[in-house]
Amino acid sequence: MVSIKRGKNDILGDILLGLIFLFFMFPIYWVFTMAFKSDSDILIWPPKFIFSPTLAHFKAILFNQLSEQSVGATTTVNYLGYFKNSLIVSISAVLISLAVGIPAAYAFARYNFKGRENLFFNFLTFRFAPEMLVIIPIYLIYQRLGLYDTYTGLIWVYQLITLPMIIWILRGYFEDVSADLEDAGLLDGYSRLNIAARIVLPIVKPGIAATSLLTFIYAWNNFIFGMILGGTGVQPVTVAALQFISADKLRFGDMAAASILAALPIIILAVYTQKYLIRGLSLGAVKQ
């Protein structure tokens, strides 16, 4: 009796999981199909599930070839340029955060200084603050300082996203390294700095890799900073999709294709590194 009942519950659970999967995957599926539909298929009612796919939108955004469906669009968009912007800003932001965050996380994990926990929590509050709330003052400050529409400005403001995450997650990894190992290093005759470089860092390396990927994803996905603080020169791909809204036409197909291209590297990264990401997340932040 019991086993039959358990079996039933299992099936119910599977169905539920399936529904949840559909619920979350449907938007991605929809955008994905949209990118391959012709403009007429996109706008038709009832929606078409079977259609003849076209690469016109991808050609349009990648090579600035205006497909016959895009006739009437007056703006062309240098999509690959935006892609480059995203790469430059996200990678630089993560690298700078690593340079600052690794020593910081190590200090939070190892040294018992006054106000440690308060300061540590303070870093997390940077993530609490709604971006919309701080974006206006930052915009004004950037205008004054000449940081508006510069890579430096964007990379700097991206530290709000990347640095707290790196410090929070890496602290957990550093705390996982036995203090005995560092004591052993001291007795073996190494300086504190040498121990950090030769013992601690190699052990924490997988954690640093996972954390970097995760923060890279967050940085890549950011929209609002690039939208407000960057001009067309430095804006990332997330913002670029907006360019396909022009006065005369909503280029849904081009937008969908652009979104797919923008999301693709992240999806591939996430799937590849899923195991590390879960470990990274559950180790660092949750343990506190």
Partner: protein, 371 residues
């Protein structure tokens, strides 16, 4: 080769405004070439003491000398000592060989010298087969050997071992204990081992320093600790099976002070007067109880449990309210409920003041004056 001298050393930890004394007024000399074991229950300050000597912990007050050189302000490296950790503390990202050479690389030892020393250590600890493996691939016993090897390869003046055997299972532990004892004999290095396991301490030590509640209780050879424990704590902590304790009192009869208790123990003390209340605790080690006839018995009781230990039997018996144990020959036959009589081996009755818990030395002769 080096002597370690600890003079009036204190360690105070401050946490959240509270001060905790981890070590109080410690005085201890570890002789050149000696195997010293620091023994005590967890939290007694033994590991803190060790960490102060090796330089991983600041010394709050007092002086520590290694080779007649005050080391208070020296880094661990400058003290030229080595330590094997309880957790082994092996570098998991390095191979066994790299682990062993790590301390030599720090000192920029010439390559050929590194090879010679490596070869010697590997041979000594039988590590040929595991040299190229990572620590995570090794068994507990192998990891322990690597940690010993990494400490010994640098030829330290003093070698410290912090609970090196506590993570090994019982068979390996005896094996490893043996190995450590042999290493000491071969290397002639001064060794200091910290443990909470009194059997381990007995087996390894030239001398044992017993600590409790941040204070040194007694220093002596294993034999001295068994025969002359200075207080109730040492008596109870050292010895297997644990010492039997009975309450009793000092009484004065015809100008003689006697020890007596609920049973029949009655011994002349030779004490001149009774200090304090006269309330005492008697300690008798299980091995010092000898089965005898009713007439000459110091203790009479009923057998409660008989345990067969192979070569010997352990008998638990009841005297009034107390349960006592004795170790007897395997040939004796006793059953539960049977009457049993013991006398105490001559000179093996330990007497402690109940209040101060200190040993009363009642052996010395003199004119008895009752209070």
């Amino acid at each position: 080769m080096a002597e370690v001298r600890i003079e009036h050393v204190y360690k105070t930890f401050r946490s959240k405004g509270k001060e905790v004394e981890a070590v109080k007024d410690l005085n201890l000399t570890i002789r050149d070439g000696e195997f010293m074991v620091i023994l005590g229950p967890s939290g007694c300050g033994k590991t803190t003491t060790l960490r102060m000597i090796v330089g991983l912990e600041d010394i709050t007050r007092g002086k520590i000398y290694i080779k007649d050189r005050a080391v208070n302000d020296l880094t661990p490296q400058e003290r030229n000592i080595a330590m094997a950790f309880e957790t082994y503390a092996l570098y998991n990202h390095l191979s066994v060989k790299e682990n062993l050479l790590f301390p030599l690389k720090a000192r920029k030892t010439p390559a050929d010298e590194q090879e010679t020393r490596l070869h010697k250590i590997v041979e000594m600890l039988e590590m040929e087969d595991i040299l190229n493996m990572k620590p995570s691939q090794l068994s507990g016993g192998q990891q322990q050997r690597v940690s010993l090897g990494r400490a010994l390869i640098r030829r330290p003046d003093v070698f410290f071992l912090d609970e090196p055997l506590s993570h090994l299972d019982i068979n390996l532990r005896i094996n490893a204990r043996n190995r450590i004892k042999r290493l000491h004999a071969e290397s002639m290095t001064t060794m200091v081992l910290v443990t909470h396991d009194q059997l381990e301490a007995m087996a390894l030590a030239d001398r044992i320093a017993v600590m409790n509640f941040a204070e040194l209780q007694q220093v002596g050879t294993p034999r001295e600790l068994l025969d002359q424990p200075v207080n109730l704590f040492v008596a109870g902590f050292v010895g297997e099976p644990a010492i039997n304790l009975l309450t009793g009192r000092l009484i004065c009869e015809q100008d003689e002070i006697y020890i007596t208790d609920d049973a029949k123990i009655r011994q002349k003390t030779g004490l001149k007067k009774i200090d304090g209340s006269g309330q005492i605790v008697l300690g008798i080690r299980p091995h010092d109880l000898i089965i005898c006839g009713e007439g000459e018995a110091d203790l009479a009781g009923q057998v409660e449990v008989v345990e067969f230990l192979g070569e010997q039997k352990q008998i638990t018996f009841r005297v009034g309210e107390n349960l006592l144990t004795s170790i007897v020959s395997v040939s004796t036959k006793f059953e539960q409920g049977q009457n049993i009589y013991f006398r105490v081996r001559n000179g093996k009755l330990h007497v402690f003041d109940k209040q101060t818990e200190r040993r009363l030395d009642y052996q010395h002769k003199g004119v008895s004056v009752c209070r």
